[in-house]
Amino acid sequence: MNWISNYVRPKINSLFSRREMPENLWTKCDECGTMLFHRELRESLNVCTNCGHHMAITPRDRFIALFDGGMFAEVKVPAPVADPLHFRDQKRYPDRMKAAQRSTHEQEAMLVATGEIGRTPIVAAAQNFGFMAGSMGMYVGNAIIAAAETAVKQGRPLVLFSAAGGARMQEGILSLMQMPRSTVAVQMLKEAGLPYIVVLTHPTTGGVTASYAMLGDVQIAEPNALICFAGPRVIEQTIREKLPEGFQRAEYLLEHGMLDRVTPRGEMRTELITITRMLMGLPPAIMGELPAPGTPAEPQAEE
């Protein structure tokens, strides 16, 4: 209304907020608004210590927390043809890629690694929602195939953490074809008799849900993760009615028989160790935080 409230107050506020929370040190929980100190947040694996809200976690941070002693060896993923369609919307696809690479310091939207969890050798793949919404293009397809091939070659289970807005539109039909491609990868694991465990994280939608993310032997989700084929907004527009509370969230899917379990991130590692060891016919694990294996997990990275 007046000069003081329109100009002076925001100015003062911004000065204070700048002083009070330098970037990187504090994160605001998008659910309850609690300010979380970075060290505390890191320890809780990006789960709000106040309300239990699961915030996004990068594949690298997840792997550090998952593998014994934080040790893992990255599996090399063959690079696909860049920008096959020479796609351009308001921005060029290569520019969007470069921006994503700069902001995430990752090459693409999926990270694949080998290592041990509770002394159980596994292959893990994790999708990075921070990289172009984790979208599935040819690289992600290649990553899943590389993960499955490594698992088959080394006789290990595959644990896949999904997070994606769906297929990568900028790769057009070639991104859609990653649905059957990734399905072939899952079939390789099944034929080799190896467990394929999917951990669905927020959000997992579209063509990703409709392919490899729903084909696990065991389907686990993180609490409150949105898991769907069509997003809630699209559905509301189609059926023109309000959707029920919690619709398409992990707990809702569990209730409707679409998942085996909903497990908080803090308990996920233990649960994955327990499940993979039983499916692999191994004796119970020694639980607890284990140091890195005596020899590096994978001294000679395959390929």
Partner: protein, 336 residues
Amino acid sequence: MHSYLDFEKPLAEIEGKAEELRALARGEDGIEVEREAEALDQKARALLASLYKDLSPWRKCQVARHPARPHCKDYISALFTEFTPLAGDRGFSDDAAVMGGLARFNDRPVVVLGHEKGHDTASRLDRNFGMARPEGYRKAVRLMDMADRFGLPVVTLVDTPGAYPGKGAEERGQSEAIARATEKCLSIGVPLVSVVIGEGGSGGAVGIAAGNRVAMLEHSVYSVISPEGCASILWKDAGKMREAAEALRLTAQDLLTLGVVDRVIPEPMGGAQRDPAAAMANVGTAIQAMLDELSGQDRKALVAGRRKKFLEMGRNALPEPSSFIPAHFTQGRDRG
């Protein structure tokens, strides 16, 4: 009465005039209009040819969605005999958006299934405009399983705007159903040939289209997302569907170049809707040719061939867009 697309308006005028002339002549004896009408016909044919010679991707989408285009049901009655529809997913219900059953194709018993959009308001509602629910995909899985058990080839006809984005569909596991259907396509030990006859709408299409051979009609489209959907996400403006259609490379000709489909089936001049019988006959010929290509392959070879086909997508170098074949290219690509 033929229904015209917006870009066919000039054509509608000429054809309307010719028809009017002839109607006039029928009413009164002795008026000679045939010559004039014939001239108009000729003009219309020339215009039609020039319109369809190089359809833009967005116009292809419009043609692919043309309400008078032959649909799955029409193909089944034209190309198959003894069609015996089979229904239900054995879990929840039947889904009329996916029709299928046993039939004979050139006397050979097969399983045929596809999306059916419906042809008038009542049937469109009944068929949910060809947008399948999980039950549709689970029925498809059941039919493919049966085909696998009895050694029957599977023919799928793809024509859907996409899987249905509804509340119940989501609750009953739309994504899981599509994933299982795709998985089934990739694991059956019998030939699976798919033809995109209209719209290949995203995951809803893939679920029944991961075949040993995949063909597309000349003016059909197959895409990861509808041009409207893509435009509203990337351009933040659903009105930019022309630009999106262009960028997505969703035409049959583009997909042939990208190695995603194996052949493009020619349509009669002016699209399948102008001469459904001819279009359907062409599809019949293509299905037979694709089945012939696969004859003699045992179960293992069929599964391995299908997997190899999809694994290779994205692995191999792709041709530059400049070498994309012109839109009127209609020949099947040779496969070794």
